[in-house]
């Protein structure tokens, strides 16, 4: 199957699915948006690039809905050691000195187009999937933690201790590095990441997930209309996660 034909087919499927699958619970708040329908036996292609848009003006200071949802989805229980406990997503408060203005935003793996973590990985465990999701193949990760040092966003964590009761959706184990995987299993099954789902459910609607390559997707339309900044855009990593209001 040619990539071109594949793309047009997907775009058609995406549009029809979006019409059928989007439920509006309030103006501007979508409960569920299906961007594309991929059969189980089909490999992901670069015709899609998954991304996220976060509107910091809607992100409430003190709210940790997205973090809670992520922890629950991935079974991220800590040992009460904040410096080394695993985090895929965390809330950061930004304070501007001159004005004292504060804003709160969720920080996670930015799913760069040219990820420094992939550059430095000696085994190829840290890789970028064709659809833009940056992952760690824990089967070949040797736990050297170069990627943790290379990441400008402090997005990665190392599992220091033996784990038990991992969830089916998130296999994780001692001696490997891990980070946000955009809930890749959900995405492959036409779902959206747990954090975005929780943010929408909590009526904040600060996070949009979708296909950056599709000009008709909600995220692309929002980016076209209101713009979206990359954090540390000077590094020219072309991040998949964009922010508004920073």
């Amino acid at each position: 199957m040619s990539t071109c034909a594949d793309k047009s087919r997907r775009s058609f499927l995406g549009k029809s699915a979006a019409i059928a699958g989007t439920v509006t619970i309030a103006p501007g708040i979508f409960l569920h948006q299906v961007a594309s329908a991929k059969p189980d036996d089909e490999a992901v292609t670069q015709s899609v690039r998954w991304g996220m848009l976060i509107d910091t003006s809607k992100c409430e200071d003190g709210c940790t809905d997205c973090v809670d949802a992520c922890n629950t989805e991935n079974g991220l229980t800590g040992h009460d050691r904040p410096r080394t406990d695993t985090q895929y997503i965390r809330k950061v408060t930004l304070r501007e000195i001159s004005t004292g203005h504060e804003l709160s935003l969720p920080m996670l793996c930015q799913h760069c187009e040219t990820p420094p973590c992939v550059d430095v990985c000696p085994t190829g465990a840290s890789f970028r999937r064709k659809d833009g999701i940056v992952l760690v193949d824990k089967h070949i990760c040797i736990g050297c933690r170069y990627c943790m040092m290379a990441c400008p966003y402090k997005a990665r964590s190392f599992v220091h201790e033996k784990l038990e009761n991992q969830t089916l959706s998130a296999p994780r184990g001692k001696g490997t590095v891990e980070s946000c995987n955009l809930c890749v299993r959900r995405v492959d099954n036409d779902g959206i990441p747990a954090c975005v789902e929780a943010c929408n459910k909590g009526r904040h609607g600060a996070m949009i997930f979708g296909d950056l390559n599709d000009p008709d997707s909600r995220i692309s339309r929002a980016l076209k209309k209101h713009g979206g900044k990359q954090i540390r855009a000077d590094l020219q990593l072309n991040t998949g996660v964009r922010y508004q209001g920073i």
Partner: protein, 155 residues
């Protein structure tokens, strides 16, 4: 002469006992618990899957990880869904237990498996999923200071 006869008789007796002693020392064949309730056949003939299951799973592993192919036929999760079922008392044998489908054979063959260091050793419905609240660090303590747009800081 009688002594020699006795010695010979003893030698014969020892020879006769040796196979029995060998049988006692032999590791008993593992008890493989046939999955109950499902009543479906394995995805490959038994002999084939016994010898080559690792290749099927390894192949699927790379396809799933790197290409997002999530067919169920050779998925480890599906092996577990079928082969790990609760016993009559509703108890699920974990990977450390001799009763676990994978463990019983691998213990016998002295082949260590690492799959379950990360992967769930039981079907999803038997995993308790706890709600995990954010720690204070993940929540709000991290405060970054920006000097404003023109001087850099958080771009």
């Amino acid at each position: 002469m009688i002594n020699r006869l006795i010695q010979f008789a003893l030698f014969l007796a020892v020879l006769a006992l040796l196979p029995a002693a060998g049988a006692i020392a032999e590791t008993p064949f593992p008890t493989i618990h046939v999955p109950e309730g499902k009543g479906v056949k394995c995805v490959q003939p038994e002999e084939e899957i016994k010898r080559n299951h690792m290749n099927y799973i390894l192949h699927q592993r790379d396809e799933t990880m790197h290409d997002g192919i999530r067919t169920k036929t050779y998925s480890l999760a599906e092996c577990i869904n079928c082969h790990v079922q609760p016993d009559k008392n509703g108890h699920i044998a974990g990977i450390e237990s001799d009763e676990h489908f994978c463990h019983s054979c691998h213990e016998y063959a002295a082949v260590q498996i690492d799959c379950f260091e990360c992967h769930a050793d039981r079907p999803q419905k038997y995993i308790r999923r706890a709600t995990v609240k954010a720690t204070s660090e993940q929540g709000l303590r991290e405060v970054l200071v920006a000097r404003g747009a023109e001087s850099g800081g958080m771009k």
